[in-house]
């Protein structure tokens, strides 16, 4: 659910930043009042915990595995506002260090996963479980809250994707950002999560809640001490959140006139976004029955709309299931493999950041520059990449980034392997089906299939001739370039600047020192706990003989997460003491960078000039 750069137009990601910023401000203030000076270690531990939860793969009955977002469980255990800040910190580290989720899309990702998911989870849990400490209601509350919290977040992401074609199109209605209209994006995201990942998140939440409430009565008593309800604040925040997408849609609708009428294609297409082109044939096989069914309900109401979305999602699930079976045959996966996978993830993570650190301390053009200059440069370029609506500029930017990477000897192979991977999967493959005239309206320049007649089904329509349109091709190229350029920019700055320096540079942008301290401490503890998890796993292997079945493995994983959480709590107390011992008085002051050199100023000027030219001209 991490939205990469390039999918959202500036009209979307800027307001999303603003909404999230509102929640961050309130959240930090609330936490400061509640936690007093302890907030830095406390938040860091919560964030490190949530990060590690995301690294755990848990088997889903049916052969696949998935991972939890962790925002919901933190909201239940530590309160929704802690979850807002902790998950935002995690998303920041994921975006900056691992290229998971975009930098321009950070505000939107935070809104979905760090705001909507925790709050929905928390409300549902409180509503169902109340103050119970055991029994059916507690578990039911945990399951439902995890399930629906994630689904709500997915629905938000679906809306954010879906409004892109309405907001901005290129020549001839070609998509410039996320290519799928609301009629595809929303049901795909919402039902996909409601049926597959949501129940899984529910199970994880339930297992964790069960673990905590069963093993730690003292903790369970403290977990639910919620603050006073401030309805006014809630209403205001909810209103802001609700109005933003409207504010985005309405002007676009007035401008576009028939924008809503342009909704095309059918829900199934969504799958094609994630499955290679070879599956296209499959969809045509069973396509005909649908219009017949649709014709009955075609008087077009929300019920029919939901039904079609539901059908698409059921098919998506089926396909994912088949795919997983198919892939499993390939390499006889053992029962423990999901754990090993999670652990190899963790090992890779540690290695990855060692490599980054090593590369960023090499000598080279960008390495010599002040981190502040690089951060400003990256942001300007990211805006340029996401604002420009033509291919030549995107190509120029790509070439420019390449030259800079070359001049800095910044691990070209590593950067471009990552760029190619993300660009191909999140740019090209996802967008590919939108090249068809089913999704992007227009006259096909290459006809693939000719049907006997055109079909229409609710808001979806299938023309007689199915083929690739020039507008569609342009859209695919645009999205691929956007995604690739955004990723290469992020990687470039990361591979030439130590993480700690990037954080220090954020001081210039008025990010509070305490937040930076939390991010740094979280980053550090991710490694320390990752090591712990690895050790626990090895210790388990050394004592395990034979195979472990799925349910036992699930219990084990939940137990491990529980232990990590306990460790984070004790650690938090110890670190706080260590801080106190060295004179900590409640305000963290992070040492700033010294004055910039002449060459830094020159580079800053050049970067600004280049950025402004690229954005404006």
């Amino acid at each position: 659910m991490h939205i990469p750069d390039g999918y959202l137009s500036p009209q979307t990601f800027v307001p999303m930043y603003a909404v999230s910023a509102g929640f961050w401000t309130v959240g930090l203030r609330k936490l400061k009042a509640q936690l007093t000076v302890k907030q830095v270690p406390y938040l860091s531990m919560a964030a490190a915990f949530s990060f590690l939860i995301m690294m755990f793969n848990i088997p889903i009955p049916g052969g696949t595995s998935g991972h939890a977002v962790g925002g919901g469980i933190i909201a239940i255990l530590l309160g929704p506002w802690t979850a807002v800040i902790a998950v935002s910190v995690v998303l920041m580290i994921q975006a900056l260090v691992f290229g998971d989720g975009g930098i321009t899309a950070y505000g939107a990702n935070c809104f979905n996963m760090a705001i909507v998911a925790p709050f929905v989870t928390w409300f549902i849990f409180r509503a169902v479980a109340g103050k119970r400490k055991r029994g059916f209601r507690l578990l039911a509350g945990a399951f439902l809250s995890g399930w629906l919290g994630l689904s709500a977040a997915a629905a938000c992401a679906g809306v954010e994707f879906g409004i892109q074609p309405i907001i901005a199109h290129g020549p001839g209605g070609a998509p410039l950002y996320s290519p799928y209209p609301l009629s595809i994006a929303l049901p795909a995201m919402f039902f996909g999560h409601l049926l597959v990942f949501g129940p899984f998140e529910g199970v994880v939440t339930m297992l964790l809640v069960k673990y905590f409430y069963a093993t730690d009565a003292e903790f369970a008593a403290g977990a639910q001490t919620a603050g006073k309800r401030r309805w006014k604040l809630w209403l205001a925040l909810a209103a802001v959140a609700a109005l933003t997408p409207l504010g985005i849609i309405i002007p676009a609708k007035l401008q576009g006139g028939d924008a809503w009428g342009e909704w095309g294609a059918e829900a199934l297409k969504k799958m094609l976004g994630y499955v290679p082109a070879g599956f296209r044939g499959l969809h045509n096989l069973w396509n005909p029955p649908i219009p017949n069914y649709g014709a009955g309900a075609a008087s077009s109401d929300t019920g029919g709309y939901l039904a079609s979305g539901f059908t698409g999602a059921v098919l998506a699930v089926g396909l994912i299931y088949l795919l997983s079976k198919f892939l499993k045959k390939g390499h006889k996966a053992s029962r423990m493999s999901y754990l090993d996978k999670g652990l190899s993830h963790i090992a890779k993570l540690t290695k990855n950041s060692y490599v980054q650190w090593e590369l960023s301390s090499r000598k080279g053009f960008l390495q010599e520059l002040d981190a502040r200059v690089k951060v400003i440069f990256t942001l300007l370029m990211l805006v340029a990449v996401n604002v420009r609506k033509d291919l030549p500029t995107e190509l120029i930017i790509a070439a420019f980034i390449f030259v800079l990477a070359l001049a800095s000897k910044a691990g070209l192979k590593l950067i471009y392997a990552r760029v190619a991977f993300i660009g191909f999967f999140f740019g090209f493959l996802v967008a590919l089906p939108s090249a068809l005239n089913i999704i992007t309206p227009g006259r096909p320049i290459l006809t693939l299939i000719t049907l006997q007649k055109a079909h229409s089904f609710l808001t979806y329509s299938i023309p007689k001739e199915i083929g690739i349109t020039s507008g569609g091709l342009f859209g695919v190229a645009m999205l691929t370039m956007r995604v690739a350029n955004s990723v290469s920019l992020a990687m470039l700055v990361l591979f030439t600047t130590p993480f700690t320096e990037i954080m220090r540079a954020m001081k210039t942008f008025r990010v509070p020192d305490s937040v930076l301290a939390v991010v740094n401490l979280t980053y550090k503890y991710i490694f320390i706990f990752a090591k712990t998890v690895e050790d626990m796993h090895l210790a388990k292997i050394s004592r395990t003989a034979g195979t472990v079945d799925g349910s036992e493995a699930r219990r084990w994983a939940a137990g491990r997460m529980g232990i990590i959480f306990k460790k984070t709590q004790t650690r938090c107390d110890e670190i706080f003491k260590a801080m106190l011992s060295r004179g900590f008085t409640g305000e963290i002051r992070l040492r700033g960078r010294g004055a910039m050199k002449k060459s830094d100023w020159a580079a800053l000027f050049a970067a600004c000039a280049a950025g402004i030219i690229l954005i404006v001209v």
Binding site: Y354, P498, I575, K577, S581, G583, R591
Partner: protein
């Protein structure tokens, strides 16, 4: 001799249930080398944390340089600076102690909290880093350090505050022999410069090396004895009682033979 730290009848228990210290009375003179020894769980770390004002004793009083350390006095800005600047605590687990982005940030954290300017803090940091042989590590994040380097950085982060009293919790734990020797020499150097050194440990070889005063904590969380190192270390009966040495069973030919056994003596030169 001037008294640096004084504990008066200090009692502490975790969660009001698990007893950790009962009725501790002790005085630590300025410039003294004191080793607090005791088995696992005897309350050594707890005693150090009480001395550093990090946890509040259930009963009893603590004085630093003749002034009482309490929740109230610690709220006064002036005393807080005097106390935090004067008392340095090196945690057993360096990972706990290193919470800043880079080594240099770690070094300047204390001085900056004490109200020094960035420049003063940095110049102190560079001095201490050169002294500890870690001047090349300035830009490293703490998770990129080896165990020995981490320990040096942790000690450095305390030394930059130029404390009068240095509390070290199991300082040699997990260090290789070379790092251990470096640490012991450093403690002597600091002691000669007039600093008070307090070490909590169950490493009798270290106690022997330090050769200062020894306070023995019993498993009942009481002070069993305070005396010079050689007197305490040669008192096998006492060491056996507080579970710091054990009876060793081994065979000589056909007869099984049992004697009190302490590892440190075998390494004496």
């Amino acid at each position: 001799m001037e008294i640096a730290v004084k504990a008066e009848n200090v009692t502490y228990s975790y969660y009001g249930r698990i007893n950790a210290l009962s009725g501790i009375n002790m005085e630590i003179g300025r410039g003294e080398r004191l080793a607090i020894i005791g088995s696992n769980g005897s309350g050594k770390s707890t005693l150090l944390q009480v001395m550093d004002g990090l946890i509040r004793p259930d009963a009893g009083k603590l004085f630093y340089m003749g002034r009482e350390v309490s929740q109230e006095t610690l709220k006064e800005r002036e005393f807080q600076r005097f106390f935090r600047g004067g008392m340095g605590y090196v945690f057993q687990d360096s990972d706990v102690q290193l919470f800043c982005p880079t080594v240099t940030d770690e070094m300047v954290f204390g001085p900056m909290q004490l109200g020094l300017t960035d420049e003063e803090s940095l110049s102190r940091a560079h001095r201490v880093m050169a002294d500890l042989g870690i001047e090349g590590l300035g830009d490293r994040p703490s998770y990129m350090l080896s165990g020995g380097e981490k320990k040096r950085v942790a000690i450095g982060s305390v030394l930059v505050m130029e404390p009068e009293v240095l509390l070290l919790d199991e300082p040699t734990n997990g260090l290789d022999p070379k790092s251990q020797m470096f640490l012991i020499e450093l403690m002597f150097r600091l002691n000669e410069a007039g600093k008070t050194i307090v070490v909590a440990t169950h490493d009798l070889a270290l106690v022997d090396e330090l050769n200062g005063t020894v306070a023995v904590l019993s498993e009942e969380h009481k002070i069993e004895k305070i005396g010079p190192a050689d007197a305490v270390l040669s008192d096998q009966e006492l060491l056996l009682k507080v579970n710091l040495v054990h009876e060793h069973v081994h065979a000589h030919g056909d007869t099984t033979h049992r004697h009190v056994h302490s590892h440190y003596q075998f390494h004496r030169h």
